[in-house]
């Protein structure tokens, strides 16, 4: 019977169901750069889904301690929850040891927390920046399931492909040749780094629709390091909680809103 629908074949198929997708992507970009005795970590403040801007101000960079700042990018709900959980772990550490967790320990903590959700991951790219116990500036970058490494600089998120090559060129001096008889510096001074960060974000804002609205730059200074180049900066605020250790500052700037 050629003109009859073959019911039996059809009924063997499973009823079609649209599976609930527990993830989304909320745009934005984060980046961090380590200096000799400071580190800088920044993120834009736009949160979007598809072509819609959900809000122009949703922070992606969070001060964890006076010497550690964490930036999260990807699925915003996972990001916020992850930061909340990290903070709880740090609070327990503070209860148990009466001091803040060292940066490298926070990095390892983040790796185990991410990997513990290996089969239902936090869809979040993390960058951790701060000061190590030896006083050096450090940046750790992670993938969503916990692979991590210490680096001198890292960009992540929607604008990663725009910003990272720029940083490779300006921080690692890739494809640059030092003038005869000179060498590239191992670390850049703070004001140079801040300029690079701001330029990275204005450029990413120009070319990527998910980047823009506002910029939050955190600067962590090593213990006893002079402020030079930082004091009196427009839109700067100190957010340190103790006065005998590392110092944390946040600089807020506008980015284009279109």
């Amino acid at each position: 019977m050629p003109d009859m629908v073959n019911l039996s074949a059809h009924s063997q198929q499973h009823p079609q169901q649209r599976q609930f997708n527990p993830y989304t992507e909320n745009g934005g970009t984060i980046l961090a750069i380590a200096g000799a005795d400071f580190s800088v970590i920044a993120g834009d403040t736009r949160q979007s889904e598809g072509y819609s801007i959900q809000t122009r101000y949703a922070p992606k960079v969070f001060r964890l301690t006076d010497r550690a700042v964490l930036a999260v990018n990807g699925f915003a709900a996972d990001g916020n929850m992850f930061v909340k959980k990290v903070r709880q772990r740090l609070e327990w550490y503070r209860h148990a040891h009466a001091k803040d967790m060292p940066l490298r320990a926070i990095a390892r903590l983040i790796q185990t927390m991410l990997y513990s959700r290996r089969f239902f991951p936090f869809y979040v790219y993390n960058i951790l920046a701060g000061i190590e116990e030896d006083g050096s500036g450090a940046v750790y970058s992670f993938d969503p399931v916990g692979s991590y490494e210490r680096e001198a600089c890292r960009a992540a998120g929607a604008g990663q492909s725009l910003v990272q090559p720029f940083l490779d060129n300006q921080i690692y001096f890739k494809n640059q040749k030092a003038a005869h008889g000179t060498s590239h510096p191992a670390h850049l001074p703070l004001n140079t780094v801040l300029s690079l960060v701001i330029d990275s974000f204005t450029s990413a804002t120009e070319r990527h629709i998910e980047v823009g609205d506002g910029l939050e730059i955190y600067v962590v200074l090593s213990k006893g390091r002079p402020m030079h180049g930082l004091e009196g900066l427009r839109g700067m605020e100190e957010v340190t909680t103790t006065n005998d250790g590392e110092r944390v500052f946040v600089i807020r700037r506008d980015l284009k809103k279109d």
Partner: protein, 265 residues
């Protein structure tokens, strides 16, 4: 007869528990039972509400939603309230699955009763209610069993305005104008243009006309909307949800549209 009800529907596994001696919770073996195939999770919304709009204005927050509950393209219930007061300082409004929303309402009511019963001078503020709601939404999405809603939380307490969003994924954000669903495409640009930068000067009257105008545009463009709506105000006087109001709309222009009016060719 097995006298432990939790064992009903679970075949006894002779390899593990030969004589069926384990009591209720500790019984080893598979944790799914004969009914587990029948357990349904929300895979898609069924009876749904469309956009909710909310803005900040001089004295607080104003929120609006129509009263339609759709069953697909069928306008199934035309007088469903989608705005709900939670305590004295907060109103929530939801789009998405309405049975899930009514569950959320009862959940919040339960929490507020518990808070009230403590009778110790503490009451939950709008941001705390929003935090709780996002915990609920996020934990349900993490169990792959979401509450299929986008919810706006508006509040006013201790002289401070609060307006934030949370949805079925647990995504949250805050802004001076918010809109869910279709409204986020159609109404949000109108709201932003009218409100951003004027949050502290807009009067209640102006706020109301901005929302009404946006609802009108939505009614013209959103096939799942209705010209009957409610507006909630949350300010120093507390929360107030208006009775349903009917929009006056103008359709005579449609006569001139081919395929809509009475022209035949």
């Amino acid at each position: 007869m097995d006298h432990f009800p939790t064992n009903w529907g679970r075949p006894r596994n002779d390899a593990i528990d030969l004589y069926g001696t384990y009591p209720i919770h500790s019984r080893p073996g598979p944790t799914t039972d004969a009914f587990s195939d029948g357990v349904q999770r929300t895979q898609q919304p069924i009876v749904t509400g469309t956009s909710v709009l909310a803005i900040k204005y001089k004295d607080g927050i104003m929120m609006a939603a129509d009263t339609l509950a759709s069953y697909g393209s069928l306008a199934r219930f035309k007088s469903i309230q989608r705005l709900h007061s939670v305590g004295e300082h907060t109103v929530i409004g939801a789009s998405g699955d309405l049975s899930d929303y009514q569950y959320i309402q009862s959940l919040l009511d339960e929490v507020m009763i518990e808070e009230f019963s403590a009778a110790d001078g503490h009451s939950l503020s709008p941001d705390e209610i929003h935090e709780f709601l996002s915990r609920v939404m996020y934990s349900r999405r993490s169990q792959m069993n979401p509450l299929w809603n986008s919810i706006l939380v508006g509040g006013f307490k201790n002289g401070k305005r609060f307006l934030a969003y949370v949805d079925l994924l647990g995504t949250t954000y805050s802004a001076s104008t918010l809109a869910t669903g279709y409204g986020s495409y159609i109404a949000q640009p109108l709201l932003r243009k009218a409100v951003e930068g004027n949050e502290d000067t807009l009067t209640e009257e102006q706020a109301r006309s901005i929302l009404t105008q946006s609802l009108r545009v939505l009614f013209y463009r959103d096939a799942r909307s209705l010209n009957k709506y409610q507006i909630a105000t949350i300010n120093a006087q507390g929360t107030h949800i208006s009775d349903p109001v009917t929009l006056d709309t103008e359709w005579s222009f449609a006569e001139g549209i081919r395929g809509y009016g009475s022209q035949t060719k």
